[in-house]
Subunit: 272 residues, 2 copies
């Protein structure tokens, strides 16, 4: 796996980097096909919103793109871009002059096949709380780490609820339920991450006969829905079912739903 | 400033370290006098509680102590000890074999004089939320970074409220108010950090005629209190006043209160 730090390989990170000291930074996980980042504009906009929110100077977009391409060493692969506030003397106070650290890392090689299987989701006990930088992918990810630790061997994803028991997200995906032609998903204005694929769905689902709306989702509502779907950079848009349900209570993965999810996923990432 | 990584100087951190990737780790800021860590047992107990909560193997206590002493290069100084889950492949999943990273860093040289001045505190707009590891000093500190950014030039500390407007902590201290002989402080069972000095006060204030209790603290209650006090490793135990108050509304720093805070602070850290 290739890693670049500020464009250079074989570099390590200063222990005083505020990314390590405080999680003072943001990241993006990007899907690349033949070295081309997909839905890049959405990643760049979210990265900039996070950096602006933290007051960290933006890197050059051209540097980010160049480095993501350099670390993407397979035809279909993810790559991670991290930007921290960089090294600094001790304490929370931000120095007057900062030198942000930019890290590009190769990620998971993605399979082009086997995307039709229903993903199995459990429910995590770890709750998700108000985000210090709502919608953005900041480096404070302990909730996700703790929730991910709870996965049973047969889980593909774990649902995270807020302190009132409302479904907010998966440990690494956005969650949707289908009710008629309505695709309902939790708001990301105070909790969680505004997924790039979630954003794409909000903008494009109408043209495919679906009406995407934000809604409070309880586990009960999830169980009654016609289908559960998850979105992320890694999985695209996939049908899912709760593992805790007995088979007869599981949302039916009808051939029509499988086709719908597949068609949306292909349009999202291009069918090539 | 000397920094040791797993006991070695001149070392940097792997970009894949989960401390950087996710804030997957904990830290302690320790006060040392002539190389001796103060209230060490409380720091060690909290560090271990955090590591156990995250499922990160504990380092040897003797290594931590030795390295803190090595980086403490002044007679009265703080030093920071960080333990992360160490480097790992990408993703939230924890590898079956982990090699934690232990970092010891020299910190601020502390002044022995000038500790009687009333600290000026403002109120931060950044709210503090439910902690993923309540009471522990985990590496997800963006809330503190954002709150610290709000400080005005004349602030010595900023208060952080929860989403319901209850006072929870300072950006880098625990908060107390005095009502009669009662010292009231917010609970740390769901929010914030269980400060080592806070713990010492809970255990020892009784012998000094004070009754420490946990209570919901509103800004209104703070304004009506006989005194506001802050505790931390760096400041010990100090009187404070809101900068937003007009002088006639500020809690009086009567000579008796100044003496009380000083006596407690000296007993906390020893008078030597």
């Amino acid at each position: 796996m290739i890693t670049l730090v500020n464009g250079l390989s074989n570099q390590w990170i200063e222990p005083s980097d505020r990314g390590l000291q405080f999680g003072d930074g943001v990241f993006e996980t990007v899907r690349l096909r033949h070295g081309q980042p997909m839905l890049w504009d959405r990643h760049w906009i979210r990265l900039c919103r996070g950096l602006d929110g933290l007051g960290i100077p933006r890197p050059l977009e051209a540097d980010c793109l160049k480095e993501l391409c350099r670390v993407a060493n397979a035809p279909l692969v993810t790559a991670k871009l991290i930007v921290t506030r960089g090294p600094a003397p001790r304490g929370y106070a931000i120095p007057s002059k900062v030198s942000p650290t930019r890290i590009a890392m190769g990620g998971a090689v993605l399979a082009a096949e086997g995307q039709d299987r229903l993903l199995r989701i459990g429910v995590c006990a770890t709750r998700t709380s108000l985000s210090p930088l709502p919608g953005c992918k900041h480096l404070n990810r302990l909730e996700n780490v703790l929730a991910r630790r709870e996965w049973k061997p047969d889980w593909d994803e774990g649902l995270m609820l807020d302190e009132k028991g409302r479904i907010r997200c998966g440990t690494q995906s956005n969650v949707f339920v289908l009710e008629g032609n309505r695709l309902l998903t939790p708001s990301v204005s105070r909790y969680g991450v505004a997924g790039t694929r979630r954003g794409w769905l909000v903008d494009h689902a109408g043209s495919m006969g679906l009406d995407v709306r934000e809604a409070d989702l309880s586990l009960e509502r999830l169980r009654k829905a016609s289908a559960i779907l998850l979105s992320s950079t890694v999985i695209g848009f996939r049908l899912a079912a709760l593992v805790t349900d007995s088979p007869e209570n599981s949302p039916a993965a009808s051939p029509e739903l499988v086709e719908l999810a597949k068609a949306i996923g292909e349009r999202m990432h291009g069918s090539g």
